[in-house]
């Protein structure tokens, strides 16, 4: 299981949230090293919005606790919207190209969970990626494939609907008793953050949120403050955060893929 954190609010140095708090993404990984929790040693990544329209991206395959570059970036970069991810590989080998977040234009995406029995479904999921973006398919992970496929369902106009239709299309031929698709994920365009929590078997990976100053924090596990300060995002829902306008929680359920969406 991977670990992830997203922040949206007043610009803040990344180490304030990723390094300093007890149980933070990076100290979690250190704890893992001491066998107090699961290990996430298959690479890490950071995506952040700064002064350019497209986000900054740092991804590397060293365990996060070994990565001096990551620590220095967290000290130096101040951002009002960033995503961080520590990977425990499920599908796709260990390479920087398989590390989260994934970037496409001004979008960032990261994912915790997996398409069950992905080897059987991979070909079909990759076929959903639009031609124009197929050259951007740099790795082999299920997560990157979901992200790119959602562009063919209108991710740029309707991110929630597009991901719903994409997951519906992936799940459509899956039968009873098959491995589930689990999807706790964060998507951003640099202004809005969408945090999804859904699974075909009703058991998505955990996802929590809490206020952080004027802003909002989403994380795979409570960190920094006691669990009581965090709210679990319910299974089958999506949290939408837009700058300082606050957060809105709505249901997230699968929609049939609409031809018009794809035609648009």
């Amino acid at each position: 299981m991977c670990r992830l954190l997203a922040y949206c609010g007043a610009p803040i140095f990344l180490d304030r949230l990723l390094v300093e708090p007890e149980g933070s993404l990076i100290s979690q990984s250190r704890a893992a090293r001491e066998a107090r929790t699961v290990v996430n040693g298959d690479g890490c990544g950071l995506g952040w919005y700064g002064e350019r329209e497209e986000p900054g991206l740092y991804r590397a395959i060293l365990p996060v606790w070994s990565d001096g570059n990551l620590l220095s970036l967290c000290r130096q970069i101040r951002s009002g919207l960033f995503l961080a991810h520590v990977r425990a590989a499920t599908a796709g080998g260990i390479s920087a190209q398989n590390c989260h977040p994934f970037a496409q234009g001004r979008y960032l995406f990261m994912h915790n969970g997996q398409i069950g029995d992905y080897a059987r479904h991979r070909r079909r999921v990759e076929a959903m990626i639009p031609d124009a973006l197929y050259p951007a398919r740099a790795g082999t992970s299920d997560s990157e494939a979901i992200f790119l496929a959602a562009f063919s369902e209108g991710l740029e106009r309707d991110p929630v609907g597009a991901l719903s239709r994409t997951l519906a299309a992936i799940c459509a031929p899956m039968g009873e008793g098959e491995e589930p698709l689990r999807f706790s994920a964060v998507l951003s365009d640099g202004e809005t953050v969408h945090a999804f929590r859904w699974a075909s078997d009703g058991h998505p990976p955990s996802l929590y949120c809490r206020e952080e100053g004027d802003g909002l924090l989403v994380a795979s596990e409570p960190c920094g403050l006691p669990s009581s300060e965090w709210t679990s995002i319910p299974s089958g829902s999506v949290l939408q955060v837009r700058g300082r306008q606050g957060a809105r929680l709505t249901r997230f359920e699968l929609l049939a893929s609409s031809p018009s969406a794809r035609a648009a």
Copy 2:
């Protein structure tokens, strides 16, 4: 342009051919570093047949001149059939999964050249990979895709025919004035070595051979001995080497993909 070397003959320490000769694969890369020739700094790989049916495989993304592991393996491993490759990336990012040789079962494959304008053709080429091998698609390079696609054309029964039909299928929709497909490549099953030299525009990367003791050496450039000791493998041909039974050169031209081959 990548560099490659294959050897088939009496078992020999790899450094005898890869490190010691002037102009050897590894000293070539050092020369490149001194700007006397093109640079090949995007990773390297070694495949060799030993006591197991499947070959050994070492691939890494450090420039070959920095790779202490590679040098030690070349000192230690003695083999009667091995392939070595130094990469200058054309299609596919820098990752160990994109380094040559590629292994599948008892087969090894490495390639110098490229599918021109691969981004436009990638999807179509990947579609030729048989379902059973699609999970083995670990990288994103054109070379690995050609190799895996050839299994659907009968690579295991008829390697020359299978590669011919695969290249024909790839080239079929290419029009006049498009970027060419260039293919200097080596394939082995552990007993036989096939060295192909072909290009859709008649200008494949160079490929040479010479006797080495009882065995045979194939290389992208003459090394170790003067060019006069090497024979250029003609464009549009394939050299087949089987143990010490000597080499046989035959024409290599494109065949239409045969349904029966695929059905087989």
Copy 3:
């Protein structure tokens, strides 16, 4: 704490001992990933004796469970004397140069434990390295420094005495209440294996041995067979294994550094 394994006996494929057994070095690391034990994700290494006088050496900084090269080498290499190590860094950053085993001429050395408070002692320990070997000091770890320093105490003539004198010299100025020096280590010259277990506070890392066919296995933890099949090497002792002549256990205690040893 690192993990290590050494084997001396009839030539054997490395995967027989390093990959296949439940609880083997590599499956241990996988278990770590599942949080059933401590994590060793700071690189791994393999040293083996083959047909050359000097050993083969493979060291890399990926977590062992991510390292396809290591797995392939374990499948291919058959050796009658090899050492394997999985690192959890204590002193010295994460780099291939800090991975064990260390090689010098025909010697291999690996170490589990540490010089307590090494930052304070490093300079002094490095000063013990003989001038002729100082250029071979490639990393910054305490382990490599101990190994190279022991050459100045006569490691080539008297390995047990040399390591005893070296540890004595390191410990000499350490006072009460200081961090201890812990030393479970394996040294080989290609014919003999020495397995040391000693600590200045009497609590060295665990070290076990058992017969394996005609040969002998030394490991930081029991693996493959139940603990009852393994013998703990007592603290303050050294096990010497010479080919199939069997093993001899003797006391290992600190000797004052002898000027004559160094003069030799």
Copy 4:
């Protein structure tokens, strides 16, 4: 020979100087790849001053042309004082710890050149590093050793004098006909940039400067603008740049190491 660039002036996105100009540090490396110039494929590094007192630092061992992280950082980071370096290894193996720039407190340092026959002098140079900084010695390169040693000569109070005394101490025992010490280097404390050009044989690596907007650029070779727009920094001199107060060129010659400097 390495390549380097330093900028001091109005804050600017790094890609403006490191990526976009023809012949820039990164396009130079690409050119190298096409064999139009010497190759620098042994790692790269970036140091920059941002909002924190200590600089940001990114160093990695991939060839610069393969490093997506570096390109993204250059796009995102805007800084008024930064250093960039592409390495062609002379002394010290390939590891991130041996990549330039080196950071210590608020200082950054990078170096083009070498201590001739470093293996013979290394021990002596490392002995000049003050005890307090010895634990910070993370790699094995001559460049890092010079930098850390200069702290014992008063680098924080008198950077020019400290480096002069350090080089004098290193050169003192070197005889006629020995390999020279060559030193083109850049040092910064976040406010001032010092660019040194000196060699014991009078042949230091090239170093150029030119105005860039309000600021100043120092580089190992002219780039972006024709050579006629660049000024060669004379051998045996040091250029001191302080914010927008302009640059001052003074002689740089070796001073005897002063006990008082060290006592301070």
